[in-house]
Amino acid sequence: MDAPSHWAGTAPVRILEPDGTAVGDPDVGLDAEQLRELLRHMIRARRLDRECMALQRQGELTVYPPFEGQEAAQVGSAFALNTEDWTFPTFRELAAALVRGVDPVQYLWYHRGTWHGGPYDPRATRFGPICVPVATQICHAVGVAMGLQRDGADACALAYFGDGSASEGDFHEGANMAAVFGVPAILFCQNNGWAISVPTGLQTAGEIWKRADGLGFPGVRVDGNDVLAVYRVTTEAAQRARSGGGPTLIEALTYRMGPHTTADDASRYRDEDEVERWRAFDPIDRYRTWLVSAGHADEDFVRTCEEEAATWVAEVRAGITATEAPPAEWMFDWTFADPPVVLARQREEALGG
């Protein structure tokens, strides 16, 4: 199967072939239960992702950016982190959020238009607010890493970003500062081939993982649809980071199966054949095939996962559809710790209180 253009060039780190056969050492340090956990996460994530598409069509969400096809990249990397580690998402990291234990209903408040980027507690979850201004979150993760470094914490900070985001100045400033200060940061790029309608080939003439070398730190390219390979490179990067080895840039090659968001009409810029060809690279099929053939799980387990996921998704749906519009007070309550008199008066005027 010929992978599309954005996979051209340096071959990525790979453990499982698209057809599920192992080409690398599948022992990434996870026991059978943890290996099954990876599949469970991916199945739940995809179910919820598809449900969100439906919720949006039904008017329960305003706009939604689906991540189908990127489950391995997100689950494999998020699963490699410890509770003390921090994660900074873009707007497409719901799968990672689930693995990190973020409450899906609160997370979806954002896409429902109930509140802004950080409706959940970013400190408690160590999962940063949903971040839309692309690449800006990279600098936040580097700042957290600077803090962890000063606290001598045994932890690191990972920032997700896309192939398109990597064209922003903030990518460079954040990556360079991380390298200069040698902080425990992981810059995790999901190269999914597209930035809305713009293919990766129009975002860069090079290979994103190679940029690290120019800034003096290690970079690695991994098959983002191979959850084991993603887990391994992220674990290595995290260990290096926590032990004072500084930052790592990871380029995970994956593919955005859906539209950019529910507001996007992908047929205007890419043909469905491309998407179809990608089915063969599906991260979940690949991993399930291997997991079962390797004897770590049987079809029963898979079925149970699917069923359990279905029930859970139904609960999430119930939770988000039951979410009511917030009171207008919220507009005023958190701009400042102590509302200045001018703002207090505006609050009265607005709420007629």
Binding site: T62, E168, G169, D170, S197, L202, M331, T335, V342, L343
Partner: protein
């Protein structure tokens, strides 16, 4: 009689301008193959080719900076910042260079650059998609800033902005992209810096721009029923401001209300109020009222309607001013 949406009218303006001037370029994020997230550049790449209409990497500072270099080589640019909130990465290039280049080169280098920015709220957008950036740009000496309120006017103003040899920040009210207006697209008309009276009245002058103009007209209807006739002025140009029209309108009505979506503090309302004092103090019979967004970050979709000036808030302000 043809019917135009703002999006279609702006699209036509770009087509007509590009046909008139072979050295006019259109570029930005997703403006090529996709035709822009609001379809304003729809079909342009197919029509004019990838040399003149192209997608750029996601790099707003790079996009605006490149426009300066292109101007030096005699190419005119219409660049798109995908949303108001995403024009901020280009702020240094816009403020330190685009606004100052002509001055620092003693008039030797004009920058015929139009920076299109889908702006303002009202579309239930996510955060950073409902910003009102006009103060940032209108306060910056060297920039012209315009915000159309309708399709036909939008066509004309974009043509005018492209013709202008000075840089123009063109703020497009997202909430009006799909609003229809009947009539013919005509390029000529009032000059840069000229506002317009969209509805006449003598009890009070109400100044607005962008999507708020339509709300003011609704308020005017409501007030008409109460026997209060207001003059609704579409400022259009926030820089340069039509101070003469502002002054005249207040001298003739004695009262004024300014309406905008941006937060109150340092919004256009303050500037217009100050100009009114300078131009018509002795005619002013009541303090100028400001009906604006609150001094808070733009709210999520669920609360948008509690943030944006509503027809009721506008009408109330007029009543207060008129009965002062």
């Amino acid at each position: 009689m043809a019917e135009w949406t703002l999006s279609a009218a702006l699209n036509r303006a770009l087509i007509d301008a590009m046909e008139n001037d072979p050295r006019l370029l259109v570029y930005g994020e997703d403006v090529g193959r996709l035709g822009g997230v609001f379809r304003v550049t729809d079909g342009l790449q197919a029509k004019f080719g990838e040399d003149r209409v192209f997608d750029t990497p996601i790099a707003e500072a790079g996009i605006v900076g490149a426009a300066i270099g292109l101007a030096l080589t005699g190419w005119k640019s219409v660049v798109e910042m995908q949303f108001d909130g995403f024009s901020y990465p280009a702020f240094e290039q816009i403020v330190s260079h685009v606004a100052k280049y002509r001055n620092r080169t003693r008039g030797r280098v004009d920058l015929p650059i139009v920076i299109r920015i889908p702006s303002f709220g009202g579309i239930r957008g996510k955060e950073h998609h409902g910003e009102s950036p006009e103060t940032y740009y209108a306060h910056t000496a060297g920039l012209k800033v315009v915000a159309p309120s309708s399709a036909l006017d939008g066509y004309r103003l974009l043509r005018l902005a492209i013709e202008d040899t000075d840089p123009v920040v063109f703020l497009e009210p997202k909430a009006k992209y799909w609003a229809k207006e009947e009539g013919e697209l005509i390029a000529d008309g009032p000059e840069v810096g000229e506002g317009r009276v969209v509805r006449d009245g003598d009890a009070c002058a109400v100044f607005a721009y962008g999507a708020m103009v339509a709300r003011c007209l609704e308020a005017a209807d409501m007030l008409e029923g109460e026997g209060v006739s207001i003059r609704v002025v579409d400022l259009r140009w926030l820089a340069p401001l039509d101070v003469d029209l502002v002054g005249r309108s207040v001298r003739e009505t004695g009262r004024a209300v300014v309406v905008h979506e941006a937060p109150k503090t340092l919004g256009m309302g303050g500037e217009v109020a100050a100009r009114i004092m300078e131009e018509a103090f002795d005619f002013l019979q009541a303090p100028v009222a400001r009906v604006t967004g609150w001094d808070v970050p733009y709210p999520p979709a669920a609360l948008e309607h509690r943030y944006l000036p509503s027809v009721d808030r506008i009408a109330d302000a007029v009543r207060r001013v008129v009965s002062y």
